[in-house]
């Protein structure tokens, strides 16, 4: 049963809103180049079909490793900047320090990579392997990153923390950007010349065809 079918099944006409039988949490997939980070809003490893493991970003005393922003509805056409505060953690094959250095050194590790958000429905008695497939919620594109490393006394021990702030935007980004060129014969020929093409006649008739009325034969 899909995510929304199951929710509908729970919230039938007679259901009392205080009868809580399922929990919905968000899952974040940061697809850094060569370093996939999957996190979910909870504790412990969440397992999904396909063998993916999502790391719970809450510690046992409620401290989050990830500070996700509130996600806005994109229907108004704006592309707000979302800031994700992510504390890097040691993953098999990629310790936090290495990931941190890679991200700092190569901007293509972050820039332009997708960040996908899903919803997970966890039923009571299901443990950390939900039977309901994850539901797509939002896809963002990571635009840039900021870095911070520090050594902190957390009350009991000295802790080295590598944190990255990821700036991401949704698909509305670039809608207000100035176009990169115009669709005229002169400009097209100049662009072709710059690219090393001798003659590009593709736009010769564009001006002549403008403002005409075409009817089906």
């Amino acid at each position: 049963m899909s995510f929304y079918d199951k929710l509908d099944a729970y919230y039938t006409a007679g259901a009392d809103l205080s009868d809580i039988r399922a929990v919905v949490r968000r899952c974040y997939h940061f697809s850094f180049k060569g370093y996939d980070v999957r996190m979910w809003q909870g504790q412990g490893k969440l397992h999904t079909d396909g063998g993916q493991e999502w790391l719970g970003y809450m510690t046992y005393d409620g401290q989050p490793f990830l500070r996700p922003p509130r996600i806005a509805d994109g229907r108004d056409g704006t592309a707000p900047t979302y800031e994700f505060g992510l504390m890097l953690m040691d993953l098999p094959g990629m310790p936090a320090k290495v990931a941190y250095e890679e991200m700092k050194k190569f901007q293509d590790v972050v820039v332009g990579r997708p960040l996908t958000i899903y919803l997970a429905l966890l039923e009571v008695g299901e443990g950390l392997r939900p039977n309901t497939p994850l539901e797509f919620f939002k896809e963002l594109t990571m635009q840039s990153s900021r870095f911070e490393e520090k050594i902190e006394w957390d009350g009991t021990s000295m802790v080295k923390r590598y944190s990255v702030t990821i700036l991401a935007k949704d698909g509305n980004v670039g809608r207000s950007a100035v176009p990169g060129g115009t669709y005229t014969d002169t400009v097209q020929k100049d662009r072709a010349r710059q690219l090393g093409v001798g003659l590009d006649r593709g736009c010769e008739f564009v001006a002549g065809l403008a403002d005409r009325t075409y009817v089906a034969a």
């Binding site: 809580i20 504790q43 412990g44 490893k45 310790p95 009571v124 299901e126 009350g155």
Partner: protein, 233 residues
């Protein structure tokens, strides 16, 4: 560069009190129409081990106390045997009470006697076999008791791969038992894997300060209580 954790075996310090619980957490879930507060259980959660220590000798210096005062900090991971507690199935109930002192060195066929005998017996263990695969993240485990008596009950602790689970529910069908565990299985239990009645737990101390707080340079000391939180590896 790969990542490797060093896991320390928890030294045999005398424990006065010990409680493993895996209730996890809860969060505010809403209000019923009657105004009562409702808590929704947090999915997953963690195993927690509360430990208090018995009075023990410190002088002439027992450096293990000094060792642990340091090692307990900095997120070091300990493999802690859950022992000396009614939360585990007694060996006498399992019909193997002769193992209660551990297996003596002499029985291991060590002739001449082991060159590194430390005077303590070998740790003993009682195991049952999983008869079906249980994937990591699920909460149900099916084991076959074989010739062992069916003595595992609600509230007992079992273990697999150095993770301790609380038996939340158990249902017997012949010698096969279907066990509901909490926290959810951290590792996949394959068919034929052994599940132990003498579990161990990988854990990190949450409050090393209170453990060290009661240390004194005295003959006889009592260390402060400590709360261990399951380390998810």
């Amino acid at each position: 560069m790969s990542l490797s954790y060093k896991v320390y075996d928890f030294p045999p310090i005398l424990r006065g009190k010990q409680l493993f619980h895996a209730g996890g957490q809860a969060f505010d879930g809403g209000f019923t129409s009657g105004g009562a507060r409702v808590l929704t259980p947090e999915p997953g959660g963690r195993g927690i081990l509360n430990m208090e220590f018995a009075i023990q000798r410190n002088c002439p210096a027992d450096p293990i106390v000094s060792w642990i005062c340091s090692m307990i900090a900095n997120g070091n991971i300990f493999r802690i045997p859950i022992s000396f507690t009614p939360q585990i199935v007694p060996l006498s109930d399992l019909g193997v009470s002769e193992l209660s002192e551990g297996a003596p060195w002499s029985e291991a066929g060590m002739t001449p006697e082991g060159p590194w005998e430390n005077g303590q017996n070998w740790a003993s263990d009682v195991l049952v076999e999983a008869v079906a695969t249980a994937l990591a993240g699920t909460v149900t485990l099916v084991v076959d008791f074989g010739s062992l008596p069916l003595v595992l009950r609600l509230g007992h602790l079992i273990g697999h791969d150095d993770v301790t689970y609380l038996v939340e529910d158990i249902e017997y069908d012949g010698t096969t038992a279907t066990i509901t565990v909490n926290p959810p299985l951290r590792n996949t239990v394959a068919q034929g894997d052994l599940v132990t009645f003498r579990p161990k737990m990988m854990a990190v101390a949450r409050n090393p300060d209170s453990f060290r707080g009661l240390y004194e340079p005295a003959d006889i000391i009592r260390l402060g209580s400590v709360e261990f939180v399951e380390a998810l590896i």
